[in-house]
Subunit: 243 residues, 2 copies
Amino acid sequence: MFTKNRKKLIKSLHQKKYRDAHGLFIVEGEKMTRELISMNSDDLGAKITDLYCISSLQESFPEAEIISSEDMASITAFKTSPGILAVAEQPALLKLDLDRLNSILILDDIKDPGNLGTIIRSAEWFGIEAILLSPQTVELYNPKTVQSTMGSLFRATIYRGELEKMYLTLTQNKFTLYAADMNGDEIKLEKWADKKALIVGSEAHGISAVSKMNAHKTISIQGVGNAESLNAGVAASIIISHW
Amino acid sequence: MFTKNRKKLIKSLHQKKYRDAHGLFIVEGEKMTRELISMNSDDLGAKITDLYCISSLQESFPEAEIISSEDMASITAFKTSPGILAVAEQPALLKLDLDRLNSILILDDIKDPGNLGTIIRSAEWFGIEAILLSPQTVELYNPKTVQSTMGSLFRATIYRGELEKMYLTLTQNKFTLYAADMNGDEIKLEKWADKKALIVGSEAHGISAVSKMNAHKTISIQGVGNAESLNAGVAASIIISHW
């Protein structure tokens, strides 16, 4: 039921501290919500706690509670509401089974929610099996991140933890750690290891010191123009497209 | 001089209709503004008409007029002002010299300002010589587009026009037109033509009918996961990284 208290709760989920406190996040838009509903019907993905739509979308979402456009405008995390909004429980992050895995992406302080979402989307496209986030990487349940994954978020295996520990565990498990950075080996010439992890650095500062120290190889995307660098989401996607 | 009228004018530039009417646009942030100033000192790029910074950035930008943080907050196009803001004249779009060119990117109704900016940035990195925009592609001088080019905007050759005419001219000039779409030939196996143009479709609808009809070849990026598609900026960047 869309009560005053529920409205207040959902509005609070626009802020990270309340998403953390309640363990909930917002999903908006027809495509994203449909994916979430379909995952739920298979007992997968993030569990839906609330589902609201405006009357014009009633036929598309018969399971949703209808609320007024004004109410929808007051709870959307976007400038313009797409007219359908779900609240879901943040799934617990899984323990990794490194024996079984061969291709991992490590995000070393990615700060832009849109970049994080784009990377998760590309990672699914190219069959990356798990994504590890450094403690300072932007929050997974930021509305912009959720949106730009275009549904991949609900299917991805994602883990957040200290990089140093992750690198130790990965190296013990015979992973080759590749750092994407300037002046590395050209990706097109690379002979990739079977078990591989790619480290992508932050938009502003690139690869961190701890990542540089732990990486086994540095690889680069060769450019010809004057641009200083590529967008972090683009760079990560290009490299994993070669795996 | 930062007068009341100037303040009003700059605020109006947050909207496309006033950017169009005045032929001006806003550039913000240290990196972007520095690139713009450096281009101007070589008589290149968009001509600066206004340059303002807050007092804490005075040493970095001695040529800027200092204004209060409150004034800066009132003219920035972003939630948080980076403290330095320039206004510049929109350069006239150049006539294309197709004889001289070999690699062109065509954007068929790209709608997201961030995607457009990312594509311009990647295009420079991979040495694309010109970018053609369909009439419905998002505006070049949207603040989000400007920002996400990370300076590449000031150096790019960009042209906007009817796709049908462009395709005719390009075909007459012996270009091979590649459309990025589902179920095309895999890019890794492609033998690219010397003179080539890549058509990238819109985020929601892909390649338009007129582009489909005019393209000589359809190419795809092979995926392995369940994701439905890649972000348009990522897809364009991956393909041109193979040229």
